[in-house]
């Protein structure tokens, strides 16, 4: 019973992708500047200045049929405006993101292809995403729907406090007439607070129209610029997570492990590679 609920949540709901977001309890509505913003909140694409490609793998509770694999690409359109007057560097025409994802095994699987766009406007990031989602049951056929999502991020206190909002599937796409089955419509609102240069605190509320509300929280610590240590917790799935991130040149590696009190271990791994002129890089 619990397993079905958890796997459905993982299913066609809003994805939490990237080892960083997962280690932070998936409190990811405020995260920006990394390629996985394409899945977590496309508004966060707005501060990307270099083309980046990312790979992501996830395994839940050591069950192969709950695997997720995703590949994402973020492409800044046009020229990069350098950082000035307290504002980070940005591209004048925004950033395009693309992502393909597969969840599940042979009996049941979901495939999703999405295109996203993020743009930075002053202290605000805005973004949107369009998904083509396919749900397949072995021998029972499959369904395809389109889902549209919107996101925004605003710096309430420059470099200290950020508000992030992500509304997934505002079109309320329908999967089947039977029991009016729809792709979940989920609203996530989060706050990110930086009490110092090295520390990031996250808290987020999540509400699926048809399910109980949940709270998520995460903490990230960067002892040096290249290393990050993270902890997180999500109340709805009752899962505690922890992870590390390493930056090596143009590569970014993130690993996270989650522990569910009843179901056990989950693992998440992502790899990012960026190319292009590095002096324009926005270090978060």
């Amino acid at each position: 019973m619990l397993l079905t609920r958890v796997s459905l949540a993982q299913g066609n709901g809003p994805a939490g992708h990237g080892g960083r977001a997962q280690a932070l309890g998936n409190a990811s509505a405020t995260l920006a500047g990394e390629v996985w913003a394409v899945a977590n909140n496309p508004a966060g694409l707005g501060t990307i200045t270099q083309p980046t490609v990312g790979l992501y793998f996830e395994n839940r509770y050591l069950l192969p049929s709950l695997n997720v694999a995703a590949v994402a690409l973020a492409l800044p359109l046009s020229v990069v405006e350098p950082a000035a007057a307290g504002q980070p560097a940005r591209t004048s025409r925004g950033v395009l993101g693309l992502e393909a994802q597969r969840f599940g095994g042979v009996l049941y699987n979901e495939t999703r292809v999405g295109a996203a766009y993020g743009y930075r406007l002053g202290v605000i990031n805005i973004g949107g995403r369009l998904d083509a989602l396919q749900v397949s049951f072995q021998d029972l056929g499959s369904r395809r729907v389109l889902a549209a999502s919107l996101g925004g991020q605003a710096e309430l206190l420059p470099r200290r406090l950020t508000l992030g909002v992500y509304l997934y599937n505002l079109t309320q796409a329908k999967l089947a007439d039977y029991q009016d089955e729809r792709v979940p419509t989920v609203l996530r609102v989060g706050l990110a607070y930086r009490p110092g240069q090295q520390v990031l605190l996250l808290v987020e509320a999540e509400k699926d129209v048809e399910r109980a509300a949940g709270m998520k929280a995460g903490i990230e610590y960067r002892p040096t610029a290249a290393v990050a240590v993270r902890l997180g917790y999500a109340s709805l799935s009752q899962q505690a997570t922890g992870g590390v991130g390493l930056r090596a040149g143009d590569f970014q590696l993130d690993y996270a492990a989650g522990w569910h009190s009843a179901l056990g271990l989950s693992q998440y791994f992502s790899l990012g590679w960026q190319w292009g002129k590095s002096e324009m890089k926005n270090l978060e």
């Binding site: 607070y193 009490p195 110092g196 240069q197 090295q198 520390v199 605190l201 929280a217 903490i219 610590y221 902890l231 917790y233 009752q238 505690a240 522990w259 009190s261």
Partner: protein, 690 residues
């Protein structure tokens, strides 16, 4: 030198225990928190303050008020600038803010590190020590309780009554000097206990007698304790004493325990100490060995086995920890079970003081077989006469990180482990992580490592604490704790798991004022009454409790202090059942009437739906006493306390409390029952400094 020492003296004021308790404990939800023990520890520190010039890192950590960064900063400062000259100099130590200094000041002193022998021979040092006092306390409930009424008969047999008078009397004497000596004597008679001379039953006048003599720093003999003492090693998994504040609003510093070793015992709790001898000897500059032996008789109820196949002919099924011996049956259980404890500890401390390692062994022998009642939840509890537990602990401080832990194994094969990390992530952020696991058959009688249960047994848990100072004067602290009980517990008839979370926002607008708001939520399953579950077999319900606390402590003028406190609890026994609530609002005022006379009082109004939503509230009591009454029903609670110092030697305290209930014909239950709707109590205490 003495003249210089007086010139440097900081006027040490008695700590405000009520406010400190308020800051250390999040919210009391059971009677079982050993706050009295912790209070005793703070008092010991107040009586024999820690010398900041000689204190090592472990001793500084034992003050539950300093962050890891502050401990490290003080040690660095001492290394760079030499000895401190006065407590005022603490303001120059990096990371030490005014609030911390104000909180710590009652428990510390700054003295030269003159060797003890330079101050004359021991008897002269004891004779000349200023830190000494005789204390006599009297307490009595004014209304007549049922236990003191004349005996009548029920079904031809006389009913149970208290054998002693309703007066409670305590007498204590103590003289001590930190790092030198401590000498103390305590006698106590609780209300209802008879005074008697019965050497056969080990009673010599008052019900409880305790004495100790402890010497420190005698060459390589670091500590020698005779009489009553306590032991504190590692994280308190096997041996712990009075330093366990547990989960509270100090979400970071409460977690770690300091490995303090042998400590004198001078409190009034009748079951939290060892009686015998203990010694710590310095084997090598970095290596210390402690051996200890204790033998005392403890209270226990005894039963005779009716089953001829039973393991023991005569066995004890429960230890009685109240320390009350008022009725014939309580007296019969008094000191029935002999307990012999012996063991040792080996400690290593690295040259820079950052790495500490230790090994502990504790053996216990009971004079008669011990077996808990044959209930399913006692399936893995200790039974037998002997227990032996081994443990190893570590603590490693590196920059602003402290890594610590302890693991142990008891004779049953049960394992227990607790491991934590404290880190200062930045100038304004501290985090703490603690992972614990105690097997259902891990048996430790004197351990008190951090746990949701009252003992470290049958539990796994993960704790995350956070403290942030986003702006000057503001502090946000939070913790989240997730725990699991793999086996049944008392009143929980299934394996269960739960969560506990706290958020406190505190604002200190001035040096003396403090405002805060606190929210705590806890999910902890508990068996539903049969009437609610509708089943013959008990079934745990998902009991949820939400608590809020608003607190304001202000000092409008130098002589007047005002405190307001609002506490509310919402409790639900299971999903879908109705919420029950409890509420209390209290107002305190304290006035400095004259230079040596102060008066304080409180008026509180409470209203709770039932006993489960009862409210615990800290109260000011006479010095060295602690009062945290549980209030339920509807009514008011008021107290008035007067403190007057007549001269340098003589101080008097008087306290009167009054609780009035609405819609109740009786107060209390059993032999404590009072006919009527009010309960009042008077306390008088005198202190004489020799």
């Amino acid at each position: 030198m003495p003249a210089l020492a007086t010139a440097q003296n900081y006027p040490r004021r008695a700590p405000d225990f009520e406010r400190l308790a308020q800051e250390l404990f999040a919210e009391i939800q059971t009677d079982q928190i050993p706050y009295e023990d912790l209070y005793g520890t703070l008092l010991t520190l107040y009586q024999a303050p820690l010398n900041l010039n000689t204190a090592g890192p472990e001793e500084l950590r034992a003050l539950p008020l300093l962050t890891e960064k502050q401990v490290a900063a003080l040690l660095r400062y001492r290394q760079a600038n030499g000895l401190l000259l006065s407590v005022y100099e603490l303001q120059a130590v990096p990371e030490w803010d005014v609030r911390t200094i104000a909180r710590v000041a009652p428990f510390v002193t700054v003295a030269s590190n003159t060797p003890n022998s330079a101050r004359g021979p021991l008897w002269q040092r004891i004779k000349n020590e200023e830190n000494n006092a005789v204390l006599l306390r009297y307490r009595r409930v004014l209304q007549r309780q049922k236990g003191y009424s004349p005996v009548d008969t029920f079904q031809g047999r006389p009913t149970l009554r208290y054998l002693g008078s309703p007066d409670a009397v305590a007498l204590r004497y103590r003289v001590s000097h930190a790092h030198d000596f401590s000498l103390g004597f305590t006698a106590e008679k609780d209300a209802g206990e008879p005074l008697a001379w019965r050497p056969g039953q080990h009673q010599f006048g008052p019900d409880f007698l305790s004495a100790h003599f402890v010497l420190h720093e005698q060459g390589r003999l670091k500590t020698l304790a005779l009489g009553d003492y306590q032991l504190q090693f590692g994280q308190g998994l096997l041996l712990s004493s009075g330093l366990a504040a547990g989960k509270g609003a100090e979400t970071i510093t409460n977690l770690r325990r300091a490995s303090l070793g042998v400590r004198p015992y001078a409190a009034l709790l009748e079951n939290t100490f060892f009686r015998g001898a203990a010694a710590t000897y310095r084997l090598a500059p970095r290596l210390e060995a402690t051996v200890f032996a204790s033998r005392k008789n403890i209270d226990a109820s005894a039963r005779l086995a009716t089953d001829s196949l039973a393991q023991f002919d005569e066995f004890s099924s429960s230890l009685v920890l109240t320390g009350l011996h008022r009725t014939a049956s309580e007296i019969a259980n008094r000191q029935r079970l002999s307990e012999t404890v012996g063991g040792g500890h080996l400690a290593y401390l690295s040259a820079d003081g950052n790495l500490a390692l230790g090994l502990t062994a504790v053996g216990t022998h009971y004079g008669m077989g011990f077996q808990k009642r044959a209930e399913p939840y006692n399936r893995y509890e200790f039974s037998g006469q002997n227990n032996l537990a081994f443990g190893a602990h570590y603590s490693y401080g590196w920059r602003n990180l402290l890594l610590f832990g302890e693991s142990g194994r008891s004779r049953s094969g049960g394992l227990g482990t607790v491991n934590g990390l404290l880190a200062s992530l930045g100038p304004s952020v501290d985090v703490a992580v603690l992972v614990r696991h105690y097997d259902a058959d891990f048996h430790t009688f004197y351990g008190n490592a951090l746990s949701e249960n009252t003992r470290p047994i049958n539990e796994s848990g993960f704790y995350l604490g956070l403290k942030v100072r986003p702006l000057a004067r503001w502090e946000v602290s939070a913790y989240f704790d997730q725990f699991r009980f793999p086996w049944l517990r008392y009143r929980v008839s299934a394996p269960s798991h739960g969560q506990d979370a706290l958020l406190r926002v505190a604002f200190a607008p001035t040096k003396t004022s403090l405002l805060y708001a606190q929210y705590r939520a806890r999910l902890k399953p508990l068996d539903l009454p049969a009437s609610l579950s509708g089943r013959a077999v008990p079934l745990p319900g998902q009991q949820v409790r939400h608590s809020v606390l608003l607190y304001a402590d202000v000092q409008p003028t130098a002589r007047l202090g005002l405190r307001t406190r609002l506490q509310a609890t919402y409790l639900r026994a299971d999903d879908g059942l109705p919420w029950r609530r409890g509420y209390i609002l209290s107002q305190d005022a304290s006035v400095q009437l004259a230079r040596r006379v102060s008066l304080a009082g409180r008026y509180a109004v409470f209203d709770t739906d039932d006993y489960d939503t009862r409210q615990y509230i800290f109260e000011q009591d006479v010095l060295y006493a602690v009062s945290v009454p549980a209030l339920y029903g509807q009514g008011t609670r008021a107290y008035l306390i007067l403190q007057a110092a007549f001269n340098k030697h003589f101080t008097l305290w008087l306290r009167y409390t009054d609780t009035r209930y609405r819609h109740q014909a009786t107060v209390g239950s059993g032999l404590e029952e009072i006919m009527g709707s009010a309960r009042s109590e008077v306390t008088a205490q005198v202190r004489y400094r020799l």
